[in-house]
Each structure stands twice: as structure tokens, then as C-alpha cells.
């Protein structure tokens, strides 16, 4: 309870601070508030559980994912100080909306009632529709916001219909009751329940950008302001996956839904990686790489067992760290290249900023899954999980796709470590950005060498 109150109040306070147009204070208060929320969750202070007649439960699972989201949000706010330095107005609103969205994220990973699932998905998404259009004079940003809103509404409609059907079949919104229903049903057929699950999973799959519900993500990633893109691909993705797993973790899934998940996994792995090969714009590349990682995460969903939540947690946490760092590096390089987003803008990075290039290298290697980085450990654990549960051929495909993944990441590495032919504007790194990039770069190696540090 305490943390929900704190975050909601924080958002409102940030909006008020915006009236004074004091940017430093806004970011400072935002970060302080988030750290406060972190402490509240970590110390378990007034986190009564269950809450509101048992529709919300801040169990270990919910708290772990919440902590990751908050840490990533703090890193993004630190980056925001430099990112919004040149922006004239509405800065406080951006921070406030991110905080509101984060609140939705916290709710979504602690629901035990499907109504909360729907509400929190909306709380998570509606601020994002606004944030995606944050650059009001940019055509692409507006396009991104509109596309996101339109497709997001469809997904919400699917989700709502699905929930209604599930309610129709089970006469309850309570997750435990639905689980009991599915266990009792096991093996039997119930068309309404089945259809309800299909539509619900489709609605959630939209949020995690699983194929074929991914169409929004490349355009939105590209059009949205980079900070918001980073927010979507880390905090929102983490929240959506936490919710997805919470939804299906204890359900006795009917065979048809299992098949749907396997097909979705295969398609996501395949399409995400293959299409990423042809991308030359870094943000689009990251969008497809994000889809590809969704595929690997979905692989962990197949035939879940007791280790799955921990694997998901580790994967999402380390993925978020690497992604945040890379988006910051992108912003800096993009500035120096006057708005260009082609991967060649990284050229000469190693010559001009060796440490930043090395940190970017570590993060890219982590995304690619090279040993001793966290990404390797994450992929490795997913493979172990899916092989243990008998999905040999899907894992073979995933391994092949991991190779494809290495290819497009290594192309970026190659650019960063190739000398620039002609002189361009130097890439300037503000101290705070330097700090965040270093934290991310070092963290992916430390967590790769000592994976025990990041567990639920």
C-alpha cells in the first residue's frame, strides 16, 4: 500500500514542481521518490499482503520485479537530466507520466484478480500513449503515439473480451479460482474458457510484442523520444512479462493454448532475429532485437517449472541494464551526428571515447549472449529450462537464432571500433551519463560472472 501511495503522490508532486519550471528539482525529487519506493519495497514496510480484499498481492515475485523496474527507472531519470536539458517545457509532465506508468507496472506484477490485470495494463499504457508523442513538433513522434494508441486500444479490447469470456466460464475474476477451474477441467474441453484464454493471452502478448502482435513496436520505438523508447523496452517489457507469467504460471493450460504459445515463440524468435538482420537504423534494430529477446523469454514459458520466475527475473533485469546503457550511448552518438540514427554514427567511438566504446561493447556482447556477460547466463538458463522440459527442436531453433542475433550486434560493435573517415562533431559525454553507462557496462559483466547476485 505504502509504495503505491508514495508513487502516486510522487507523480502529482512532480506535476506541481513543473509549475516552477525547475528542471533540476524535478529530476532530483523524482529520483529521491523512486529511491524511497525502493526502500519501502525492499524493507517490506506497510506492504500488507494481500491488499484490497485479496486482489493485489505483493509477494516475493511482485516485489522482485518491482525493484528491478524501479532501479531501471532511476537510471533512466539520471539520464533524463541531460536528455531534457535542452527541452523548454513540459519536462515535469514527462517524469510524472513515467512515474504513473511505473505505478501501473508495480500493480501489474502483483495482481491476483483479472480486473486488476486489466486496470493496471491501462495504467501502464495510457501514460505511454502520451509519452510516445512527447516530441510534439515531430511528425514521427505523433505517428508513433497514434499507432501505439490505436493498436493498444485493440489489444485492450481483446483483453477485455477474453477476461469476460473467462469470467463467463469460471464465474470468477480471482486467479486462484480460475486456476482451480483449469485444474478441474484438465484434459476436458470448454470452448468459452479456451477462447477467453486465447484472447487474454493475445492482449498480453501485444504488450510484450510477441509475433504476430508486434507490428506496433518498430514504428513506436523509432518514433518515440529515445528516453521513452528505453523506458518501453525495459520497464514496460519487464512489467508485461511479469504479468504474463503471473497469469499463466499456475494455470493448467489446455493443449491448444500450449500450441499457441509454442507457435508464438517460434514465430517471435524467427521473425525478430531475421528482420533485425536487415536493419540499419539503430532504434529499429533495437526494436527487432527486443522482439527477438521476447522470443527467448517466451521460450522460458514453455513447460514452466519452479525455476522459471527466477530465470525470467534474471533475464529481464540484465536485458534492461544492457538496453538502458545502449540507448544512452545512442542518444549521445545521435546528437553528434545531428539526428542520424544509422548504425554508422557509432564509427570512431573507440577512438574518441575508449571507455564508452568498451562499455557499449560489453552491453552488446551481453545482448548477443557471449560468455562471461549476463546475457550469456540468461540465455543459457533459458536453454536449460526449455531442454529440461523437452522442447528440443524449439531450443535448436533458438540456438540458431542466437547466432543470427550475434551477427547484427557484432555489426554494431564493428562500427564502434572502426575509425571514422571524416571528422565529425565529437561525441560529448556528460558526467552523469558517463556514470550510468559505466554502471550498466560493469553490471552486465559482474552479474555475468556472479549470477547469484541477481535472484528473486
Amino acid at each position: 500500500m505504502s509504495v503505491l501511495v508514495l508513487l502516486s503522490v510522487l507523480g502529482v508532486v512532480l506535476l506541481y514542481l513543473g509549475l516552477f519550471n525547475n528542471r533540476g528539482a524535478v529530476a532530483g525529487v523524482g529520483i529521491a521518490g523512486l529511491l524511497g519506493a525502493f526502500v519501502l519495497i525492499a524493507s517490506d514496510w506497510h506492504l500488507e499482503s494481500p491488499l484490497f480484499n485479496g486482489i493485489i498481492q505483493f509477494d516475493t515475485y511482485a516485489r522482485s520485479f518491482s525493484l528491478v523496474m524501479i532501479v531501471v527507472a532511476v537510471l533512466l531519470f539520471l539520464f533524463g537530466i541531460d536528455y531534457y536539458a535542452k527541452v523548454k517545457e513540459n519536462v515535469a509532465e514527462q517524469y510524472a507520466l513515467m512515474v504513473f506508468s511505473l505505478t501501473g507496472g508495480l500493480l501489474i506484477c502483483s495482481f491476483t484478480n483479472l480486473v486488476v490485470l486489466f486496470l493496471s495494463i491501462e495504467i501502464l499504457s495510457i501514460p505511454l500513449y502520451i509519452l510516445a508523442g512527447g516530441k510534439r513538433d515531430s511528425f514521427r513522434s505523433g505517428e508513433a503515439a497514434f499507432k501505439y494508441f490505436l493498436q493498444g486500444s485493440y489489444a485492450s479490447a481483446f483483453l477485455l473480451m477474453g477476461l469476460a469470456l473467462i469470467y463467463g466460464a469460471t464465474a470468477s475474476f480471482d486467479l486462484a479460482a480460475i486456476e482451480a477451474f483449469s485444474t478441474a477441467l484438465a484434459g476436458g474441453q470448454n470452448m468459452i474458457f479456451l477462447l477467453g484464454l486465447f484472447l487474454t493471452i493475445a492482449g498480453v502478448a501485444f504488450k510484450v510484442a510477441a509475433v504476430p502482435f508486434h507490428f506496433w513496436s518498430p514504428d513506436v520505438y523509432e518514433g518515440a523520444p529515445t528516453l521513452i523508447t528505453a523506458f518501453m523496452s525495459t520497464v514496460v517489457k519487464t512489467a508485461a512479462f511479469a504479468a504474463f507469467y503471473r497469469l499463466i504460471a499456475n494455470l493448467q493450460l489446455p493443449g491448444a493454448v500450449e500450441t499457441m504459445l509454442v507457435v508464438m515463440t517460434i514465430c517471435t524468435l524467427f521473425l525478430g532475429n531475421i528482420v533485425a538482420l536487415r536493419q540499419t537504423q539503430f532504434k529499429r534494430l533495437m526494436a527487432y532485437s527486443s522482439i527477438a529477446h521476447t522470443g527467448f523469454l517466451l521460450l522460458a514459458f514453455l513447460g514452466t517449472d519452479a525455476r522459471t520466475p527466477d530465470v525470467l527475473f534474471y533475464y529481464l533485469g540484465t536485458y534492461a541494464l544492457a538496453t538502458v546503457g545502449l540507448f544512452i550511448v545512442l542518444t549521445l552518438a545521435k546528437r553528434a551526428a545531428l539526428g542520424d540514427e544509422h548504425i554508422r554514427i557509432f564509427r570512431g567511438l573507440f577512438r574518441s571515447n575508449p571507455w564508452i566504446a568498451v562499455a557499449a561493447l560489453l552491453m552488446l556482447l551481453s545482448l548477443a549472449g557471449i560468455p562471461l556477460t549476463a546475457g550469456f547466463v540468461a540465455k543459457y538458463r533459458v536453454f536449460v529450462l526449455s531442454l529440461t522440459n523437452g522442447y528440443i527442436w524449439t531450443t535448436v531453433l533458438a540456438v540458431l537464432m542466437a547466432v543470427v542475433g550475434i551477427y547484427y550486434y557484432i555489426l554494431v560493435v564493428r562500427e564502434a571500433f572502426t575509425a571514422q573517415e571524416q571528422e565529425t562533431k565529437p561525441i560529448v559525454v556528460a558526467p552523469l551519463n558517463w556514470l550510468v553507462i559505466s554502471i550498466c557496462g560493469v553490471a552486465v559483466v559482474v552479474l555475468g560472472v556472479m549470477p547469484g547476485l541477481l535472484r528473486m
Binding site: 560468455p371 536453454f383 540456438v399 557484432i410 572502426t418
Partner: protein, 478 residues
Amino acid sequence: MIAALLLLIPFLTALVLVSLRPAQARPIALVSSLASLAVVLYAWISYSGGTVIHYNLNWVDAWGLRFVVGYDGVGLLMVILTAVVFPFIIGAGYGQQHDRQATFNGLLLFTQAFLFLVFLAQNALLFYIGYELTLIPVFFLLLFWGGADRRAITVRFFIYTLVGGLSLLFGIVYLLIQSGGNGDFTALTNLSIPASTQVWLFWALFLAFAIKLPIFPFHSWQPETYYMAPLQGTMVLGAVMLKMGLYGVYKLVFPIVPAGVEHWQTTVIVLALIGAVYGGVIAFRQSDFKRLVAFSSMSHVGVLCAGLFAWNAYGISGSFYQAFAHAILVLGMLYIVGAMQERTGTTDMSAMGGLKGHAPRLAALFLLVLVNAVALPLTQSFVGEWLMFAGLWQVSGWLTFFALTTIVIGAIYMLYGYQRVMLGPDRTNVTLADASVRDHIYLVPLIAVTLILGVYPGPILELLDAPVQQLLSSLSVN
């Protein structure tokens, strides 16, 4: 202690070189590699057989990753090989013009540290980690200091190797699940995997090594990469990196999927020999000296792999013995390539000729390196090749005949190459310096090693004998 020193000396020196970038990078690197060599020689002297385990620590226990390092005889031979080769690789830099010496030598030492990790690891995952890590410094060596087209070729090399690497990871994960999460080689060796599984698992494990070696038809990354790489990079690739492939087969494939090996033995030998003959024939057609060395390496490696898969005491011992010889040979040949390039400014043989008149001593040194390449009796290669052919003979007479033709082809292209460079009319129209003191310091020890081990192979064969016998007897028990 020995294992810790071997891993830390190159790694820490490399860190210092890369981060502080001292001006005297090469001497520092050289001293570091000599220190490693001293440690290894001490390990060799104090080695008294069996498997020595230096450390046995939990790392991430939950998924079978444990820090177990040590060596048996074969592992020790590989460690010796790595330690012997690196001072020469770093020393070869004295003839090369590079910018950013510190980074360059730092990357070389990183490679050495990771190679030590590969050869010392007694845990499959630790082995895999080392195996993949060696790629990273080499990737940058090629990307920063390679020749024309380096960007495309480097990426191709990287991807090719990682295809194998991930397939290996898949195989290891599969094995780990079978063994209940214990990744130590001892545990994996004791698994009893159904023969039908072994038939496909063999390729999951072997593909990585087939690409690394490389054998036909997984070789297409190799010639261009060897050609494009900076001289010292080619030395790393040819002298030690590919030996990881042989060692991996010995460590991960033979003891764990013996039924798979039995099933595919003939196929692999045939593929390897096709590669050997094919590489030899193409080497003959090359007009570029460095390309000739690249294809000759491919040809030699094919025979190495065939010998290994003969799968008997002669074949396996011969293959590892020859691996050592091949490393020395690659160093010598490539050093000559570098020396020629230094003098004539090219590696194109059609622009050379008649150099013997200018540089008689260099020509003599070249010839002495060359006799090892053609496996003349009393050289190290002769011992290795003889053992391998004896091993192959027990498998099939025809295959042995096929393998023997590579010796003839090898003699032809090597001597033909020598002829084009050293003999005939003088086409360079420049006066060349003869072999300098530096060339002698470099080449004479290599030649000495070749000849001494050619006459007296005992010390190395002793290392190989016990572990190979043990491997084979454990197989016959099963």
C-alpha cells in the same frame, strides 16, 4: 598455484597494457610470456603422470559451472604448446609496423590467458567459456590490424566460429541435464547415453571443433581470414587456436559420445582427407606466399583430424604430436613470410625469385623450416605423420594411401614455393639484407626444437601415452 599463475600472468599483464598503454608494451608482453613459459616448464618437470587438479571451486553450483582447473598429459602438452608459441608470436612483432602497440600486445596476452583457461578447464562449461572468450581479442586483432576487406572477413570469421560455439553450448546443456547438473568432465565421461542419441549429439559437439580446425566442408572462413589477418594474428590462429579443436575432440567428444564417434568415424576421416588433398592442391596454385601457408595449414589440419579419428593409440598420439610440430612449423613459415614482406614489400611470389643470391643465410633458414613442412625424416613432423599413418593403417589401407598423397602434394607445393621465392632469375631488382641477428634468434630455436624432437620424441610421447591409453581402455570397457 601453477594454474593460477598461468591464468593471471597473461591476464593481468594484458589489463595493464590495455589500460595504462605503456610505451614499452612489447618488451613487457615478451617478459610476461617468458614468465608463463618458465611456469609451464616447471609444471612439466614436476609432472608425474595422472590428472592433476589444481583448483576445485564452486562457481555457480546450481547449473554445473564449477571452477575446476588442472591437466592430464594431453592438457599439459597443449599448455606447453601455448606457452612455447606465445613468446615467438610476440617476438615476431619486432619485424612488423603497428600502431597502438600496447593494445595489440594486450590483446595477444588476453588470447593467451583464455587459451590457458581452455586447456586447463576440467569442467565443460568452463571450457566453453574459455573457448568463446578466445574469440573476442582475436576479433579485435583482425578488425584493427587486418588487411584489405577486414571488416567483412572478420565478421564472417566470428559468426562462423560462433555457429559452432552455440552448437557446442547446446550439446553441453543437453549433457548437463543428463548428468543432473554436474558439468565436470569426469561426471560427463561416466554418463551412459543411448547410442541413437549419441549419433546426433556427436555433431552438436563436434561441429564447433570441425569449424575451428577447420575440416572440409566447414573451412570456407579459413583461407581468407588467415590471409587478411595481421601476421601475428595468423600465427595465433594457425599455431594455437585451431589446436583447441583437436583438444576439444579429445576432451569432449571421444570420451562422452564414443558410439557417435564410432558411427561417424569414417565420414569424418573421409571429409578431413578430402580437405587435406583439396587444400594441398589449392596451395600449389597460389601465387601469394601467405595464402600458400594458409592452404597448407588447411591441408595439414585435415591430416591431423584424420589421424585423431583413427581412434587408436598411434593415431591420437600422432595427431597431438603433429599438432605441436605444426605449431612450430606455422610460426617458422609465417615468420619467413613476414621477413620476405619486410624486405620486398609484398607477399606475392611472382614478384620474387632468385633471392638466394642476395640472402643465402635466409634461404638456408627457410629450407630448414621447410624440411619440417614436408615431413622429412629426423624432423618433428616425420614422427607425427608416421604415427598418424600407422594409426590410419589400422582403420583402412585405402584411406592411408589417400592420406599419404598429401605428403607428396605437400612436398610439391612447398618446394615449388621455395623455388619461386629463392631460386631462378632475380626478379626483384633490389638488394636485400640477409638474415639479421633477429632472424637467427627467432628461427634457430624453432629449427632446433624441430630437429631435437624429430630425433628424440620421447619426452612428448611420454606425456601422451598414459592419457591416451586410459581413454582407449575406458572405451573398450564400455
